[in-house]
Symmetry: C2
Subunit: 143 residues, 2 copies
């Protein structure tokens, strides 16, 4: 049960928070990571009464608590994903926004080297590879 996670983060266990956590857990996996608006729509569609502002507030709190990660890929909206602890980078399809996660130890190691040889104490890093995924590649022409 993840209501524990909420309590641990000093956040009351409320319905909106539980619902948002649940959505992140279930519809997050291999497909799209979610925007605040996505989550808002899903909640509305499933009959919940919630405000977009609350979604943003909750996501921001979750981010501060280390429960979710906020990404700024291209295209205005930030996307959110549950922080499952295992760091990874992203492949983003520029056609359909499909996201594939990956980890590469060689790259991870190299990054640390680069940072320290530039005199930086690395705090974080983001590697995003943009491209056209297999699906979109085959189905020629689409928006």
């Amino acid at each position: 049960m993840e209501s524990q996670d909420l309590k641990k983060a000093g956040l009351k266990v409320t319905l909106p928070r539980m619902k948002i956590l649940e959505i992140l857990e279930t519809s997050n996996a291999d497909t799209h990571h979610l925007t605040a608006e996505d989550i808002y729509r899903i909640l509305l569609d499933s009959g919940e009464e919630i405000g977009l502002a609350t979604v943003y507030r909750v996501l921001t709190q979750f981010e501060a608590a280390g429960l979710v990660i906020r990404h700024h890929f291209e295209g205005g909206q930030a996307v959110f994903e549950l922080d499952r602890g295992r760091h990874h980078d992203h492949l983003v399809c520029v056609k359909c926004s499909r996201i594939v996660e990956f980890v590469d130890d060689t790259i991870e190691r190299k990054q640390k080297e680069i940072a320290s040889s530039a005199g930086f104490k690395m705090t974080d890093h983001a590697l995003i590879i943009y491209g056209v995924c297999g699906n979109c590649e085959s189905s020629i022409e689409r928006r």
Copy 2:
């Protein structure tokens, strides 16, 4: 003379465009990459009469023409840098926003491998390492 670049891109050689190009050329190098607002301020401060909208319009045209690259680092505003042809990635100081550019062939190679083994046709990629630079590290405490 880079008025050539403008003509080549099908853009009239106007004062605002020249000025913006000049700013990108001179104050771009090792320090901060510039936001549209930065450029706007610099122009106003140097006595030019220009609108922020024009700065955005020009930068967008420059981007389309391949003259500049737009980056979406953390923190709202996009930053722009001249495209000098040599691809590179970025180390960003989270304290002072100083930017260091770097290239690592191993990482470049690995990225291609990762993309193709995931069935993606890579179109672009962005690697950003966030950290605290030497300067900020030493001068303990600062905003």
